[in-house]
């Protein structure tokens, strides 16, 4: 198993080739799933732990769920896009590729845990702690996404024609992961709330949330009553 972890971590080309040829996929998929669950759960424990234990446990359960739901929903779209662009990938091979890519991203999350831990401990008393923490977590997630991209890039031929394919993969992944994460929030819990629920009620799409967050960052706050009127 540790050999497989090593392959996923340090040999993205070999991993991609193994998925492409569909050789001995089951152990690779098992190792990837394990890495995904351990990496994201640990990250969730530290992220939610910035508030309290119950939030830590909730986030530790929800973060792996975000990845798994995202992969499950992206797979048909990835398959369709790959087929339309003339790539002869089968569904299981594509699933294995995206799963190993996500496992590699989870390893990066695991590696960055101490950074998040240190930050959440040192800056806990800051008045803007919540925003800073979510920003840092987002940055770490973006970095881990680059590691995943490394595997995906090696799965396809390096030529100009595959650029739109990877671009579409990225767009679909962004759309699904964003909405899934938005639906399963909260992961940290607003400091103004005495009790944080496990799930919030559906509040539109995450595009609207981005717009509201940008407004909040500029100091323009919209109250619930006004939002209802809109």
């Amino acid at each position: 198993m540790f050999d497989l972890f090593n392959v996923i971590c340090s040999q993205p080309l070999a991993t991609a080739r193994r998925c492409r040829t569909e050789s001995d996929l089951i152990p690779l998929i098992k190792a990837s799933l394990l890495l995904l669950i351990v990496g994201t759960s640990s990250f969730g424990l530290v992220l939610g732990g910035a508030r309290d234990l119950s939030q830590a446990l909730a986030t530790a359960v929800k973060l792996p769920l975000v990845w798994i739901v995202t992969l499950a929903l992206c797979a048909p779209a990835f398959y369709a896009i790959a087929a339309v662009f003339g790539q002869p990938w089968r569904l299981r091979a594509l699933l294995a590729l995206t799963l190993t890519a996500t496992a590699r991203a989870s390893l990066v999350l695991f590696a960055m845990l101490p950074v998040l831990w240190l930050f959440s401990d040192v800056f806990q008393s800051s008045s803007r702690f919540y925003h800073q923490l979510t920003l840092l977590a987002s940055l770490i997630y973006a970095t881990s996404g680059l590691a995943a991209l490394g595997v995906l890039l090696r799965g396809f031929d390096r030529k100009l024609a595959t650029a739109p394919l990877l671009g579409l993969f990225a767009v679909v992944f962004f759309l699904v992961a964003g909405q899934t994460a938005w639906s399963l929030r909260p992961f940290v819990g607003r400091p103004s709330q005495a009790e944080v629920p496990w799930f919030r009620n559906p509040e539109g799409t995450f595009f609207e949330a981005i717009g509201r967050d940008l407004d909040s960052a500029r100091g323009r706050y919209v109250h619930e009553s006004q939002r209802e009127e809109w």
Binding site: L73, C74, Y79, R90, V176
Partner: protein, 214 residues
Amino acid sequence: MTIAALETHGPVLAQQKGEASCEAAPSVASHLLHTDSNDPSSLKRRLLWGLLGLICLGTCPELGLVAAGHDPRLVEFGRASWLGTLSLPFSAALTLTPPLPGLLILLSMQDEASDLSSVMHALSRAFYRTGLLALGLTPVLALYALTGAPPEAMTVFSSLGYFFSGGMALALLLRELFFGLSRQRKRSGVLLLGWGGFVSLWGLYLYLKLGQFV
């Protein structure tokens, strides 16, 4: 190379090229798009998959909205059934089929021989690509419908999904036809581009027109 020759050899060449650079066993979609491209059973399967994909794109987001508690009229009047279900496949089929004879006539005036059955297979591949992409996008749209996206936003997302799928399929169809032309490449290319532009407008018109009835 004429269009007929392209239909026969182009996909096979593309497949061989793909196999040379990638050792994966070809997927069902790849099989339907490249190997046996002129086989009648492949044609039937492509049309059925295209139909299924567009039906899913037309209905699943609406059903997701109903499940999320939006727009109970859909359940009351059963609007999600007949017309809604078939509007996208109708729209896609009508978008490509009526302008086709015009293209064939104009191409033959340019002295570009084209075999009707090969063109039909090319069309079926375009329909299949549209349906396949629509089928792939359906879970994404259903996720948005189930997790709080308002009905207005879902209408926009579904329309974008349909036009993205159709646009991609049309672009690839034009590419396929373009590389099949041997003579008067520039003039025929411009003709194909013009035809593609008209089909885009025609598709938009049909989508809006059929949307009024649904």
